[in-house]
Symmetry: C3
Subunit: 119 residues, 3 copies
């Protein structure tokens, strides 16, 4: 989803600084990874499934592995913007990991700037 994040950066009108890409979900995560070889995506899915610890989960919805992976990997990543473009390494791309999907997911792209203080 690198292209969608880049579009948001342009919409926000930021030339340089940092944006935070995040999800409001507890069964999804955001990460930065290899973007060139499409095999890397399916490799990642298989690896994540295997990676989840095989323990008893008392939470009854059956989505506990997704909660676990979301907490481990993180709901957000920080990305630098330079000259109006995401500054990514040659092979880096932004990924939304839908760990209990496919579902419709919301992703926020926020500018990290000067905070507004209370009156």
């Amino acid at each position: 989803m690198t292209a969608e994040v880049q579009q948001q950066v342009e919409k926000l009108g930021v030339r340089s600084g940092f944006v935070v890409v995040s999800v409001p979900h507890t069964t999804a995560a955001i990460t930065i990874g290899e973007n060139w070889d499409p095999d890397v995506g399916s490799d990642l899915e298989r690896a994540l499934a295997e990676w989840t610890p095989a323990v008893r989960f008392d939470h009854g919805e059956g989505n506990s592995p997704a909660h676990f992976l979301s907490e481990a990997i993180g709901h957000a990543r920080l990305l630098a913007v330079e000259k109006g473009s995401l500054r990514l390494g040659r092979w880096q791309g932004v990924f939304l990991l839908d760990l209990d999907g496919p579902r419709t997911r919301t992703v926020a792209v926020d500018l990290l700037g000067a905070p507004e203080s209370g009156a």
Copy 2:
């Protein structure tokens, strides 16, 4: 510990922006996860214990799994603030993972704002 973080946000007087929730410890971590079902907490503890690789650790204090998990999960998370409140998804809460506890832990909540430069 979502409520404590929200209190700090109010004390800092921030209306909108980002805060960083972090620990100065090498055997603890901060994450965002499912906050509704209390079973998720004990599920997470069991899963983390199982998740730690069963390798030889030369570090002699017996807390190497805690160091490992702290490095893997992270000492900090970034959270958006909107209208004076943490902007969390419906099920999201902030968790302090005490990986070598229970101990008394320090958690910092810092405003991400315009930096102060040296004179």
Copy 3:
């Protein structure tokens, strides 16, 4: 690499605020961890090797475990600066994890400040 990051903080002339330490690589990661006992570094290497899921990777370069670990741990960490110095806990240090090395790696240390908006 805590000392190198501190040098960059001094070069940037920041007195207080936050810096982002990041890599543009998909086979490396940045983390914060135990810095005192040198055994912790080699312990971490062994643990990461064991931690990688033993699944089939279709990506043909043989560096898939490195991609996986970079995505899981993260390409960046946020660090507070106070009075011109990195604010780290007593045992905390900054680590570059070269997951497919050793190679020459680039690490960026960026100030998180007021963004520049487009004209």
